[in-house]
């Protein structure tokens, strides 16, 4: 297989040696590995943006690689072997996730408005009664969360966040994606609500039993400061850039509706921060 880059933390783990695990899940764009300690790692297609604990390869369709769920995985500083497929770690380029800073620009308010309108237009117009109820709950709980941030209401920030975990459709439930979006903003240095970030340690702990393992690790990694590049790029673009078309397009391409849900989370916390900043 042809390789490209790797999250520096994943490389460190492999360099420690004696890496063992099994293939957890196989998708077109990603293969997940669970090691013997229950930690998740991911192989990604080259075109994917930088992800936490991920290794990028050049292959087009990972689901065609003859790698199957439950295949044994071993690895060291030289290579990673999944079933019968070997990945060389030579000439791998490591990357990290730097903490970005919250520096609001005059474009923030107009970006919020623009994106809010666009997301509303993308909503499913005829969901089933079940779908409508899910949507209602998601909207209600995200709205409570946003209001809790605006009121500096710690107890309700925690409660509303807990109530979003595991709620909604998708491999990563919509509520989880919204929390991911919230974390994307909270991770920024000097972000207005930075002081509430610590509450999310409890939310992550709660997520371990309340959502599936893939979504849990997404949230945990986000709390650790490691979020997909496209999500961080969009968050920063919302805050700083005048033209955010490119970043918006990329985030909306995540999953089926995950990108939209993540964007809703980002939007809600940025709205809360922006309203407070204006003293409204």
């Amino acid at each position: 297989m042809n390789e490209l880059m790797i999250h520096d933390k994943f490389l460190e783990r492999l360099q420690e040696g004696n890496f063992r695990g099994t293939v957890h899940s196989v998708f077109q764009k990603a293969i997940n590995i669970m090691d013997e300690e229950g930690i998740l790692y991911t192989i990604l297609k080259k075109e994917m943006d930088k992800g936490p604990m991920a290794l990028h390869v050049l292959e087009d369709d990972l689901s065609c690689l003859n790698i199957n769920v439950k295949d044994p995985v071993t690895g060291d500083e030289h290579q990673l072997i999944l079933g019968k497929v070997s990945i060389s770690l030579k000439e791998m380029i490591p990357y990290g996730f730097l903490q970005r800073e919250y520096r609001p620009s005059p474009f923030l308010a107009s970006n919020i408005k623009k994106v809010r309108l666009q997301l509303e237009e993308m909503k499913d117009e005829n969901p089933s009664p079940y779908g409508r109820e899910v949507e209602r709950l998601l909207n209600e709980r995200l709205s409570h969360l946003k209001n809790a941030f605006m009121r500096d209401d710690e107890a309700n920030i925690l409660e509303a966040s807990l109530k979003l975990i595991g709620l909604g459709p998708g491999l990563t439930p919509s509520g989880d994606d919204m929390i991911l979006g919230i974390l994307s903003v909270l991770n920024l240095k000097n972000t207005p609500h930075e002081k509430y970030r610590y509450l999310y340690e409890q939310v992550i702990e709660h997520a371990y039993t309340q959502t599936n393992i893939l979504s849990y690790f997404g949230l945990k990694r986000a709390y650790d400061g490691w979020i997909r590049q496209d999500i961080t790029d969009f968050t920063i673009a919302m805050i700083e850039k005048e033209n955010i078309e490119k970043e918006l397009e990329k985030i909306l391409q995540i999953g089926s509706s995950s990108g939209q849900d993540i964007a809703y989370g980002i939007l809600s916390l940025l709205e809360a921060s922006d309203i407070e900043r204006k003293g409204v």
Binding site: Y130, G175, T209
Partner: protein, 515 residues
């Protein structure tokens, strides 16, 4: 409510696959709704609150996939469950799936190297970027999207021209390439007549008339509505003509548009002069002498264009049913209308159909008010209220912001049909019903209640109301042409056979003898 639940333990599908599975499962006959979600506490709570939680789902874990099936009345749930599982097995087992969703043009091209056309229908703000990507991947582009800037259209068409690719659109609704209809298109016979059109329903009408007259279509290339403006310069029209000149299957060419900008018309005529294949030009309202001076054959209407081309293509003229005007019918209808009933109201889904019918009516009756009038004096100010002879294009942007085109959803026009019927000065309501791929599956069914209501209103007021319907389609279209026509006739609607005849009949019905 009949419900069955399938649990797939420890099953992970990515979200795009889940969406595709859900769509497939919802398409199974007898399924009212399939809800798919991971077995988290929150999702189970929602199932409980909506009366859908069963024991299997109660026991599901967060890593399990819950598939909850609601069945329609009268269906065996065990059978339904089996059918849904089958569909899902088929979906997951398939290596190649026609319904696979890709997140980008580049990803789709990588998986489908044989594809050479991209059809783009995303909000206008994003359409240009996506079209540019498609062109750079070597794809021809058909852009259904509108609300694209003129600057972007020009840039895309120039890029396409340099790459030797077609850039059909923006706002291009109709194409037929190598026998395959794209977006709105009718099922027509394959033949040797190629069409380049800056007009969606105009192109449809020409292709359908060709079929009706016994001819066939080789290619139908759309250019988008602004192509023949001075700014765009007819780039796609000219490239389309070139493509048809080079296409071995095309022996005769038709150009359809509203009149181009003068400079653009001159460029087109220059190309036409050098054409080795005969070219028929229908520029609605265009100047006959100029067109004939270029060596092209002049056609005043889309019907005439089709007829000329079909004859040129070798179909014996004596075998063609030209659907001559029924003069007796005109006299009969005129006799039924009161002197007070002096106006035609044209309510159309197709823009070019509206323009062509209005143009023909205007020739006879004088001025027409419309939302698409070129003369500012006759642009209808208030879209809700008609004035004199009024022709409304319900497919115009003013009606379609945030809602489907009336060819997909005819409901927007229904209220207006009833409203016009209440006006004692209205003698004729002319409408179109557009069949074909992409269109509503039963436009007549959707419109009949309004027609019945309109007829009833007029009858109760003691007057005849002439409703004239033009059904644009062929016997090969999915909507069953004959059935659409028969149901209209059963309600006393007069059927016209073409856009041209709709105009001629409308003006005939409403004309009053000089006293």
């Amino acid at each position: 409510m009949a419900v069955k639940t399938i649990i797939r333990k420890n099953t992970y599908f990515d979200s795009v696959s889940l969406m595709a599975l859900s769509t497939k499962a919802n398409g199974v006959e007898g399924v009212k709704q399939v809800n798919i979600a991971m077995g988290t506490t929150m999702n189970k709570d929602v199932l409980k609150n909506t009366g859908l939680l069963q024991k299997e789902a109660e026991d599901a874990k967060p890593g399990d996939l819950m598939i909850v099936i609601e069945g329609d009345e009268g269906y065996d749930m065990d059978e339904l469950l089996k059918n849904v599982e089958e569909v899902m097995e088929r979906k997951t087992a398939q290596g190649e799936d026609k319904d696979v969703t890709y997140s980008s043009i580049e990803a789709a091209v990588k998986q489908h190297k044989e594809a050479n056309v991209a059809v783009i229908s995303v909000p206008g703000a994003y359409a240009s970027r996506v079209a540019g990507k498609a062109l750079r991947e070597g794809l021809h582009v058909m852009m259904f999207s509108d609300n694209v800037s003129l600057e972007d259209e020009i840039a895309l068409k120039k890029e396409a021209h340099e790459r030797g690719l077609l850039m059909m659109g923006p706002d291009c609704g109709t194409a037929i390439l190598n026998g395959k209809g794209l977006c709105f298109a009718n099922e027509v016979r394959k033949g040797s007549i190629g069409i380049v059109a800056a007009s969606g329903t105009g192109a449809q009408e020409v292709s359908v008339r060709i079929h009706d007259f016994g001819g066939g279509v080789s290619q139908l290339i759309g250019t988008g509505g602004r192509d023949l403006s001075e700014e765009v310069g007819g780039i796609m029209m000219l490239d389309g003509i070139k493509a048809l000149q080079e296409d071995e299957g095309t022996k005769t060419i038709i150009l359809v548009s509203k009149p181009p900008a003068k400079k653009v018309a001159d460029k087109i005529y220059e190309v036409v002069k050098k054409s080795e294949k005969p070219i028929v030009i229908c520029f609605l309202g265009g100047v006959k002498d100029e067109i004939e001076a270029s060596g092209a054959i002049y056609a005043k209407t889309t019907k005439q264009a089709a007829l000329q081309a079909v004859i040129l293509s070798g179909v014996p003229e004596e075998t063609i049913n030209k659907h001559s005007l029924n003069l007796q019918l005109i006299e009969e209808v005129k006799a039924k209308l009161t002197p007070e009933q002096k106006y035609v109201r044209g309510l159309f889904c197709g823009g070019t159909i509206c323009s062509e019918v209005a143009y023909l009516v205007k020739e006879e009756v004088g001025e027409i008010y419309s939302n698409i009038s070129k003369d500012p004096k006759y642009i209808i100010g208030n879209l809700e209220d008609s004035k004199g002879h009024t022709f409304i294009d319900f497919g115009d942007d003013s009606f379609t912001q945030g809602r489907p085109h009336p060819m997909i959803d005819p409901s927007l026009r229904l209220e207006r049909i009833v409203k016009e019927a209440k006006d004692p000065e209205v003698g004729v309501i002319a409408i179109d019903m557009i069949l074909g791929y992409g269109s509503h599956m039963d436009p007549v069914g959707a419109t009949l209640p309004a027609i019945k209501e309109a007829k009833k209103i007029a009858a109760e007021a003691g007057r005849h109301l002439e409703i004239l319907a033009f059904v644009l389609g062929t016997e090969l279209d999915p909507q069953v042409f004959d059935d659409q026509v028969e149901r209209l006739m059963a309600e006393g609607v007069t059927i016209s056979s073409s856009s041209e005849n709709t105009g001629l009949l409308s003006r005939g019905f409403i004309s009053k003898e000089a006293k």
